[in-house]
C-alpha cells in the first residue's frame, strides 16, 4: 500500500528520521497558516499524489513571499498533474505539503527494500541524488552502493560504515547520516515496508542530513498488524472500480482494453489476458476471483466488468479446483438476472463439477457462448472484435 509524502514524513519524524519542518494543507488559507507557523521564506509547496516525478510535472514549487505562496498554491491545488507515473490522464491534486526551504550542500539517494534474489534486506545509496535511480543503475552501476542485511541479525555497524564511507561522508555529517540510517532501517522493519526511498536525501550547509523527500510503501499482507498505516489509505488515489472490487474481496485491476475477463487464479488470469491480446482484442481488466469464491463474489465480479462501458465482450475462464464450476455457473446466472447483458459472453469451464456447471448455464436460458478449450475460447473472442 502506498502512502503520501506528508504521511511518510510524519512517520519519519515519529521514528527519529530528520525531515524539513512542514505540514499538509487542503486550501490556500490553510497553506498561509502553515507558512505563518514556519516563520520565514522561502517555503516549498509540494503536490501530494501517489506518483513520482512531481517536480518535472510542475507540482513542486518554491515561494518567497505571501503573495507568491497564494499564487503557487492556487496553481497547484486543483491542477491535474501528469507525470511519468500517473499515466496520460494525470491525477487531480487536492492537497499540498508546505515545508521550510533549506540550504542544501549535496543531494544523495537512499532506499531500503527486500531483495528477492538474496532473501535479505537491501540498502541502496548513491551520490547522485534527485535522479531516476533506475537510470543510475543502468548507466553507472558502479556508482550504486548496495549493502545486504540479514533480517534476523539486523543492521550492524559495518553496514552503516559501508554505506556512509561509500557516499564519502565524514565528521559530523557521518554521525548525522548514521543516526538517520539506523532510524530508517528500524522503521522499515517495524512497519513491514516493501520500499522506503529518500530521493533526495540532503546534506545541509550546517552538515546535518535530512530526508527532503519520502516514499514509503507498506506490504499489504502485513496491514493486519498496522492499523495506523491502514488508516492512511487514500481511496481517491485508486481506481474507483478497484476500490469497489476490494470491498468484495476481488482482486481486480482496471485496464484499457475491450474484452473483460473473469478467471480463478492469478497466473491463469494473466495467461487469459495474454490470450485475449493474441486473439486480436485487448484485455479490459485483470480479475482473479480466487480459489474460494462464492456465487455472490462471482456475481459482483461480473457486474464490475459489465459496468465498464468500453467492454465489448466478456471471457469467463475457470479451471475448477477449489472453486467448483457449479458455483461459478450459479454466480453468472445470478448476475444475469439482475444485470441486463447486452454484450456477448464466452464461457470456458474445466475441472471440478464441470458437467453440473455446464448444465446450470444451459438450463438458465442465457445466451452464452461456450468454448471447449482455451484455443476455442480465443477464436470466439476474436470473432467478437472482428
Amino acid at each position: 500500500m502506498k502512502i503520501h509524502e506528508y504521511q511518510a514524513k510524519a512517520l519519519f519524524r515519529a521514528n527519529g528520521v530528520a525531515t524539513p519542518v512542514g505540514n499538509v494543507a487542503f486550501s490556500v488559507d490553510e497553506a498561509l497558516a502553515q507558512v505563518e507557523e514556519l516563520g520565514g521564506y522561502p517555503v516549498v509547496i509540494k503536490a501530494q499524489i501517489h506518483a513520482g516525478g512531481r517536480g518535472k510535472g510542475g507540482g513542486v514549487k518554491l515561494a518567497h513571499s505571501k503573495a507568491e505562496v497564494k499564487e503557487v498554491v492556487s496553481d497547484i491545488l486543483g491542477m491535474t498533474l501528469t507525470t511519468k507515473q500517473t499515466g496520460p490522464q494525470g491525477k487531480l491534486v487536492d492537497k499540498i505539503l508546505v515545508e521550510e526551504g533549506l540550504d542544501i550542500r549535496h543531494e544523495f539517494y537512499l532506499s531500503i527494500l527486500p531483495d528477492r534474489q538474496t532473501d535479505s534486506v537491501m540498502i541502496m545509496a548513491s551520490r547522485e541524488g534527485g535522479m531516476d535511480i533506475e537510470e543510475v543503475a543502468e548507466k553507472s552501476p558502479d556508482k550504486l552502493i548496495k549493502v545486504r542485511v540479514n533480517p534476523l541479525a539486523g543492521l550492524q555497524g559495518f553496514h552503516v560504515r559501508e554505506v556512509a564511507f561509500g557516499l564519502g561522508l565524514g565528521g559530523e555529517t557521518f554521525k548525522s547520516f548514521a543516526t538517520l540510517l539506523r532510524s530508517l532501517f528500524a522503521l522499515f522493519m517495524e512497519y513491514d515496508c516493501s520500499l522506503v526511498e529518500i530521493n533526495p536525501l540532503v546534506v545541509l550547509t550546517d552538515g546535518n542530513v535530512v530526508a527532503l523527500d519520502a516514499k514509503v510503501d507498506v506490504d499489504s499482507n502485513s496491514l493486519y498488524r498496522h492499523p495506523d498505516i491502514t488508516e492512511m489509505r487514500d481511496e481517491s488515489e485508486e481506481d474507483p472500480l478497484e476500490v469497489e472490487a476490494s470491498k468484495y474481496g476481488l482482486n481486480y485491476i482496471n485496464l484499457d482494453g475491450n474484452i473483460g475477463n473473469m478467471v480463478n487464479g492469478a497466473g491463469l488470469a494473466m495467461a487469459t489476458m495474454d490470450i485475449i491480446q493474441q486473439a486480436g482484442a485487448t484485455p479490459a481488466n485483470f480479475l482473479d476471483v480466487g480459489g474460494g469464491a462464492s456465487a455472490d463474489m462471482v456475481e459482483q465480479g461480473f457486474r464490475l466488468i459489465l459496468s465498464d462501458a468500453r467492454v465489448k465482450g466478456v471471457l469467463i475462464n475457470i479451471f475448477g479446483g477449489i472453486l467448483r464450476c457449479d458455483v461459478l455457473a450459479e454466480g453468472v446466472v445470478q448476475a444475469a438476472r439482475t444485470v441486463d447483458i447486452k454484450i456477448p459472453v464466452v464461457v470456458r469451464m474445466e475441472g471440478t463439477n464441470v458437467e453440473r456447471g455446464r448444465q446450470i448455464l444451459l438450463e438458465s436460458g442465457l445466451n452464452l457462448i461456450t468454448a471447449t478449450d482455451l484455443a476455442d475460447a480465443a477464436k470466439k473472442v476474436a470473432a467478437i472484435v472482428a
Partner: protein, 292 residues
C-alpha cells in the same frame, strides 16, 4: 521414482482442524496420501476423522514418524508454523498459505539457512506425484500417473490448465510442483529442475513462469548449463502493465526488470521450447516430447 513425495511419504497437517485444513486433508486422504497426524495447538488428543491431533509438530513427529508437513495456517501464524515444522526435523514442508508478510518470510528463510529441510511455497498449490501422493489443494483427477513429464510452476490454476492439456494428450506426469507466487519462497525453479534432471523416470519438463523477479532468467542459465532433458516453457503476463501487482505478491514488473518479454528471451537463449500461446501448449508438448 518421481521426486520428493511418494506412497511412503508420512504427512502431518498443521492447521488440520480449520475449515481449509479439514477440507483439503480429506481430499488428500481420499487420493491416497498417507496423512498420519494433525497439529492444532490446544486440540491435542482429539481426532480429525481417524487422524490423531497433536499440540505441537514435535509431538506429532515423535508419535507418528511423520516426515513431511503440509501447512494450512492463516497468514499471521504461518511463519511460526513453518519454523516449528523445520525445528521438528521433517524433511519437507509444503506451505499453502497465501498472504504471509514478506518480512516474515525473510526471517523464515534466514532461520532455515543451513538446515537440510526443504520448504515448498508459500502461496502455492503444493506438490503431487500422480497416483501416489497428493500434498496440496490441486484437483487430483486431472493428473495422469506414470510420467514421463515433470511440471514446475509459480501458479496454481495455471498449473492445472497445463497438466490438463498434458493429460488430454496422453502425457502423464512424474511429479507436479507449485513453487508459489510470493516474492520470497522456499524451493525455486532450479531446485526442481535439478531434481527432475536426476530423476530417471522424468524424461521432459514443463516450466511455467510469470512476470516479476528473475527466477526464470536464473533457471534458463541452469537449463543451458546443466540439463539434458527437453524443457517446454511458458510465461504468463505479456499484457501485464508495469508497476502493478498482478494478484500474486511476486508478480510485478518493476522498471525494465521482470518483464515477460525478458523472460521469454532468456528461456529461448537457454534452449527452452517456449510456448507463446497457452491454448497451444498441449500440442507443443506433444511435438517436443514425442518418442520419450
Amino acid at each position: 521414482m518421481a521426486i520428493w513425495v511418494n506412497e511412503a511419504t508420512r504427512v502431518v497437517v498443521q492447521g488440520i482442524t480449520g475449515k481449509e485444513g479439514q477440507f483439503h486433508t480429506r481430499a488428500c486422504v481420499e487420493y491416497g496420501t498417507n496423512v498420519v497426524a494433525g497439529v492444532t495447538p490446544g486440540k491435542g488428543g482429539q481426532f480429525m476423522d481417524e487422524i490423531p491431533v497433536f499440540n505441537t509438530v514435535a509431538q506429532a513427529v515423535s508419535a507418528t514418524g511423520a516426515d513431511t508437513s503440509l501447512i494450512f495456517v492463516p497468514p499471521p501464524f504461518a511463519a511460526d508454523a513453518i519454523m516449528e515444522a523445520a525445528d521438528s526435523g521433517v524433511a519437507l514442508i509444503v506451505c499453502i498459505t497465501e498472504g504471509i508478510p514478506v518480512m516474515d518470510m525473510l526471517k523464515v528463510k534466514a532461520f532455515l539457512g543451513g538446515k537440510s529441510v526443504r520448504l515448498l511455497g508459500p502461496n502455492c498449490p503444493g506438490v503431487i506425484t500422480p497416483g501416489a501422493c497428493k500434498l496440496g489443494i490441486m484437483p487430483g483427477m486431472i493428473h495422469k500417473p506414470g510420467g514421463p513429464i515433470g511440471v514446475v510452476s509459480r501458479s496454481g490454476t495455471l498449473t492445472y490448465e497445463v497438466v490438463d492439456q498434458l493429460t488430454k494428450r496422453g502425457l502423464g506426469q512424474t511429479t507436479c510442483i507449485g513453487i508459489g507466487g510470493d516474492p520470497i519462497n522456499g524451493t525455486d525453479f532450479i531446485d526442481c529442475l535439478a531434481a527432475f534432471e536426476a530423476d530417471p523416470q522424468t524424461k521432459g519438463v514443463v516450466m511455467v513462469g510469470e512476470i516479476g523477479g528473475s527466477a526464470e532468467e536464473e533457471a534458463s542459465a541452469f537449463i543451458k548449463a546443466e540439463m539434458s532433458k527437453p524443457v517446454v516453457g511458458f510465461i504468463a503476463g505479456i499484457t501485464a502493465p508495469p508497476g502493478r501487482r498482478m494478484g500474486h505478491a511476486g508478480a510485478i514488473v518493476t522498471g525494465s526488470a521482470g518483464t515477460a518479454a525478458g523472460k521469454i528471451a532468456a528461456l529461448e537463449a537457454g534452449g527452452v521450447h517456449v510456448c507463446e500461446n497457452l491454448g497451444g501448449l498441449g500440442d507443443l508438448c506433444a511435438t517436443v516430447f514425442a518418442g520419450l
